[in-house]
């Protein structure tokens, strides 16, 4: 009962309802895209993009522009660039991503200190703030989440093929380049949307954790995708509730919930593996 009261009390705050709506949608999209990104070894792209987003946000604030109108195009551009770089370049992919992300972090910090000065804003950008969501953000997130979900469902088979075996897909005439672009584009938008709430340093956890967590137990691509989405949204709710009750930072609490889920799944898979092995041994001892 106390739990229900807490929840009711929580949702009586307008800003919290907005944050929960946006956050849940972003968690869902990030988890779905994360399955493909993690399996394609592109996990670091998410991290790189969030740093680029930080730089773009800082510049937008300095120019007094609406944060999303500046950061969405910049981050989308960076996503295409990072994708190209990790596919073919003289500088190796991971090094190139580290270069771009630290560069934009540095530029962002300089711009902020020159304009508003190093204050709580910087802290909010880096670690997120639950107060950041406005009404227009909510509308935009709902629209974009709908687009991401629709594209993911409609293109599910193509995303699977491009993720599992790009060479085969390419040989049978699938435009793998275009599909990679699409995944990068959707990732960029998801990151920008979630960044101000989760924080530039923490947003990539929404992409990486759910996929890795569900891969501990799930054995098929479809089940990994569905499980990631469920785990991600559940962890987000858990994180926000804890952050409300204990007054901890929202972004960090959501990540903590994801860590807990990961450890839980990992322990479950280890336990399953052990019982499986004992069963095998028993079988071989007395057939």
């Amino acid at each position: 009962m106390a739990m229900l009261d807490t929840l009711l009390e929580m949702f009586s705050y307008q800003f919290l309802v907005r944050a929960v709506v946006v956050g849940a949608l972003v968690s869902l999209c990030a988890a779905l895209l994360g399955v493909s990104l993690v399996l394609k070894r592109y996990s670091m792209i998410g991290d790189g993009l969030s740093h680029v987003g930080f730089g773009a946000l800082a510049v937008a604030t300095a120019m007094n522009a609406a944060p999303l109108t500046v950061s969405i195009p910049v981050v989308v551009l960076a996503a295409f660039l990072l994708l190209r770089v990790s596919e073919n370049s003289k500088i190796k992919g991971d090094a190139a991503i580290a270069l771009i992300s630290t560069s934009s972090l540095a530029i962002g910090v300089i711009v902020i200190s020159l304009t508003t000065g190093m204050n709580t804003d910087v802290c909010n950008y880096l670690f997120g703030s639950i107060l950041a969501m406005s009404k227009s953000d909510v509308r935009l997130s709902i629209a974009l989440a709908a687009v991401v979900l629709a594209l993911f469902v409609l293109c599910y088979n193509k995303i699977y093929a491009v993720t599992f075996d790009e060479n085969f897909a390419k040989a049978t005439g699938v435009k793998t380049g275009a599909w990679n672009m699409l995944i990068a584009f959707l990732t960029a938008i998801t990151i920008v949307l979630g960044m101000r709430m989760m924080g530039a340093l923490l947003i990539s956890s929404l992409i990486i954790f759910p996929a890795l967590t569900s891969m501990r137990l799930c054995k098929t691509f479809k089940s990994v995708a569905v499980c990631s989405a469920a785990v991600s949204v559940a962890c987000f709710f858990a994180g926000v509730t804890v952050s409300y009750v204990k007054a901890t930072p929202t972004g960090a609490s959501v990540v903590a919930a994801n860590i807990a889920a990961f450890l839980l799944f990992w322990a479950a898979s280890a336990a399953k593996g052990r019982t499986g092995r004992t069963a095998n041994i028993r079988q071989s001892v007395n057939p």
Partner: protein, 237 residues
């Protein structure tokens, strides 16, 4: 006209010619084995045949009703696939993707074809299993099933026996021969295992950054280069 005809074709890799002077044809029902040492241009030729790389010189023609995307490809395995969560059935079904065009979902016919090919390669009881938990030989069978889902005309196998033990390798070669003979599927196989190649294939293409030999397997074994590379398998027979 043959399925694939190369006329004086050459393929370059980053500006350097990797393989040149290619003059050969693959007709319906052939079993062509492309042999050569590492770095002899085999992989580049594969890319060229798949249409992923345009010829640097000469021409590569497809004919006899073969469209360029009707080649079932069995690529070398990548590191990412080693821990990829996917069921065997999902892998096989993905071979049908190209035939879907822009339609988003698989039809009942696609599912039937995927099941049929898993059955044909003797892995249908593994359909719900996780691909990464299979043995190397089982994985190759699943990928072969996927290639057959993509086409009934021509499959292109890139070092299919890489990483398999000798018993599994022989089993795989027998399976490929059967697909070629019983289903009438044309096979192009890239291999550095010259002796097995000469035993199973109908034609041999020997590369050494240019075309050293193209002709029937029997002619290859009688030729000087064939005798040198196949280690005198003739005398042993």
């Amino acid at each position: 006209m043959a399925f694939i005809t190369c006329q004086d074709a050459a393929f370059a890799y980053e500006g350097n010619a990797a393989v040149s002077g290619l003059n050969f044809a693959v007709s319906r029902g052939d079993y062509l084995c492309v042999v050569g040492e590492n770095g002899s241009g085999k992989s580049t030729l594969v890319k060229g045949l798949l249409g992923l790389k345009a010829p640097h010189a000469g021409r590569v023609l497809t004919g006899d009703g073969l469209r360029p995307n009707e080649i079932g490809y069995l690529p070398q395995q990548t590191a990412a696939q080693k821990d990829f969560p996917s069921s065997v059935y999902e892998v096989a079904l993905s071979g049908r993707l190209a035939s879907r065009g822009i339609l988003p979902f698989y039809s009942r016919r696609d599912r039937a074809i995927a099941s049929e090919n898993l059955e044909r390669l003797g892995v249908s009881e593994l359909r719900g299993r996780c691909y990464r938990e299979l043995s190397g030989g089982q994985q190759q069978r699943v990928l072969l099933a996927r290639a057959l889902c993509a086409t009934k005309k021509l499959i292109l196998l890139d070092e299919p026996a890489a990483g398999l033990d000798p018993v599994m390798t022989q089993e795989l070669y027998r399976l490929i021969s059967r697909i070629n003979r019983e289903m009438g599927v044309t096979v192009i196989m890239v291999s550095h295992d010259i002796r097995s190649a000469a035993m199973h294939a109908s034609h041999i293409l020997h590369l050494k950054n240019r075309q050293e030999f193209f002709g029937s397997a029997a002619d290859y074994l009688a030729s000087e280069i064939g005798r040198a590379f196949a280690g005198g398998s003739e005398q042993r027979k």
